[in-house]
């Protein structure tokens, strides 16, 4: 402890006519158990109340605070300053629309993704409140939950080479979402129907396999496994379609 931290922070406020994109330096005395959540709030409350950034749960469970910390997309709330050098460079996540400074619009991006992937259970069954629930194997329930752990922080999208080059690429978060419904026995969609959604260049075939999504995922989701799983499944579906089956 006892360090004086130097923060280099990206500044740009699109709603301010005179604002120009630039880097701004701040200094702050480090305290015990400091995280970027503590540091950024102190900077805003004590030095520059105009600083724009997002936090919500500050406990690594909501995904609000994705940003590029010393070159790597991560959650600011679970980044401890003692694990960083004295100079800390903070940039907003790329790919997403910038709201201001370190804040980006993940909300709209993910909402569009729900629509594209039809992110809900497709079933013809009606709920009957007089009946016992339908049974499910516990192992399957746990498998679904493992795929549902994504917090939509956007780090995997920001780190993705394909997503940086083409804005229609669905990205790891969306493919993981599709996998969640593929393994769910309650969803009655066929492989052919999933193929319609992801069997193309902006779906599974756009991935270049650079693996950054999985490397940086703050929740350690096995994103490449899901992609591989879908690719095999969709490959088989494509061959079947080609053979007219």
């Amino acid at each position: 402890m006892g360090r004086t931290l130097k923060f280099d922070i990206f500044r740009y406020n699109p709603e301010e006519p005179a604002s120009q994109p630039r880097m701004q330096a701040f200094t702050l005395d480090e305290t015990e158990n400091m995280t970027l959540f503590i540091a950024l709030n102190r900077l805003r409350e004590e030095q520059d109340p105009g600083l724009i950034f997002d936090f919500c749960c500050r406990a690594g469970i909501c995904g609000s605070c994705g940003m590029v910390v010393n070159g790597r997309p991560r959650l600011a709330c679970q980044t401890k300053t003692k694990d960083l050098p004295e100079t800390i460079t903070l940039l907003p996540l790329p790919v997403f629309k910038l709201i201001g400074d370190l804040s980006v619009d993940t909300g709209v991006w993910f909402r569009e993704m729900y629509q594209k992937t039809e992110s809900w259970i497709h079933t013809t069954k009606e709920f009957d409140h007089t009946k016992e629930e339908e049974r499910m194997d516990n192992a399957v329930a746990e498998q679904i939950y493992e795929l549902e752990r994504c917090v939509e922080c956007g780090c995997c999208i920001a780190a993705c080479g394909t997503a940086r080059m083409r804005d229609d690429f669905l990205g790891a978060a969306a493919l993981n979402r599709v996998a969640r419904f593929v393994v769910d026995p309650r969803d009655q969609r066929t492989d052919k129907e999933y193929f319609e959604i992801i069997g193309n260049d902006y779906g599974i075939f756009g991935c270049m396999g650079l693996l950054a999504c999985e490397d940086i995922c703050p929740k350690n989701l096995p994103l490449q496994n899901q992609l591989g799983f879908l690719r095999r499944k969709m490959g088989i579906t494509a061959i079947k379609q080609f053979l007219g089956k």
Partner: protein, 617 residues
Amino acid sequence: MYTHTSDLLVIGAGLAGERVAVESALAGFDVVCLSIVPARRSHSSAAQGGMQAAIGNCAMGEGDNTDVHFMDTVKGSDWGCDQEVARMFADTAPIEMRRLAHWGVPWNRVVPGKSFYFKGGEKFEKFEKPEKEGLITARSFGGTAKWRTCYTSDGTGHAVMCTMDNKCAELGITVLDRKEAISLIHDGEKCMGAVVRCLRTGKLEVYLAKATAICTGGYGRLYSATTNAVICDGAGNAIAQETGVVPIGNPESIQFHPTGIVPTDILVTEGCRGDGGTLLDVNEERFMHIYEPEKAELASRDVVARRMTEHMRAGHGVKSAYGEHLWLDIRHLGDKHISTKLREVDEICKNFLGVDARTQLIPVRPTQHYTMSGIRTDKTGAAYGLKGLYSAGESACWDMHGFNRLGGNSLAETVVAGGIIGKCIVEYLHGTETTYSTAVINAEVKRQQQRIDDLIAGRLGKENVYKVRAEMQEALMTGCFVFRNEKDLLTCIETLQGIYERSGRIGLVSNGLGANHEVAAALKLRGQVRLALGIAAGALARKESRGSHNREDFPARDDKNWLSRTLAYWPENADMPVLKYEDATPHFEIPPGDRGYGGGTIIQADPETIAAKTIKR
């Protein structure tokens, strides 16, 4: 001015808000949900434990039914809840859990056969029946007679939130994020919608609706130490109270948790103490046994929080850059136990403190946790005072929690109440036509724009919003926390009155343009101080100890005089809340009795009055 009209406006898109919205959309009404963050980031998603519902599928839940759940809820409330509401809640919860399963929640299911579980560090065996295989299972939670808490691994809130948000997407409900309601549009009798600040551009917008539902969660951020997300700042409650005609129910009813980590107050589970963890002071010595010789660290949540506060007040706290704290020691539980049974705690310590709990102490302090208090509604979720205004979830005082809330009942309340109240709103919408007064709308927009302009121009004064807010939080921490007494409450109120006056003289340091946080903080500060004054004034007036409300100078629970609910109104131009009271419950299914833990004497209510209000079976 951007103006949007719909049948229902839902302010807050957490579990309660989205559940309400789904019910209206299913009935064919046009709904818009506003949220300050993307819906899935709502604080609902942080709840890990689970949802209570008397399904009774698992071995340890056998024999459970809605009567037992009702009884646990009423006892937990310390007889401060509305028993009619607690009954509706307990009866509906199992249906709602099954409905969630149908919609896509991956509830953990019964696995037949022999398995083990731990209780107080001891190992026990249980046997799950083969005929129950694959049905929704449950886990144990504090304060319940049976294992009743439905769960999805350690991420129940997150999993249910995903499903609910998917349901909204499926139904085509408009869910808009980065929108903050800053005032209600009303004529003193009817609510017409809200003035909303866009948190992308900073511009004002108007949302008009036949019905408005406030589902904005709790207001933990009125305290400096809270387990709540930074968005749980009471803004929804504040705009309702500001109307002058809508009261806050039981403002003094706030729950605290003994072990939030310092500095960020993320919760570490009570399981740490349950499994044999100890609390240490500045000298690294145990102290709980001095205050509670029998139970020591295993005393109930509120008792431990009080003793920790007492010990720190006696000068045994550890000083830090973030204020005083104590230590939680789980080193002696060993690597195997910590990395399996307390995995979550292990990860929290590593990720947020950089502490290895096997070799190092965990800094902890008592922390605000839950607001039983909220916008007072009747059993249909309709707010007192304004037609067309509703509230559900933690922001509401629907009042199934009374003076203490049981673990697993809060998350269950969001969807159960959301469903029940959603249906009541549908009925209201079917029977209502409305007109909007352009004069009222324009006046309200103008008033809000004026407030923003004044803040930016510094016309009101030069007070710093963050400093004034921090002083409000400290005033509540010092004078109205786990312990309350007349002297400290009087000082607290006096301090808060000074702060209230200063909250009217905020001037911005920044230029206030765009997605500016300083403007947002400044716009809600005055309402927050009103809520804070309500908490302190309600606590000062209530001369008894009930549930989480603990008066050192009135340690008994006084059913004779205080079997009541506080209603805190804020009339226009007032500088203190006006407190009124109503009966805690319209009738008793269970007459007041012992709460079962925490001790304390009870001043009995008049037996004839109780008998007259008790339902005969």
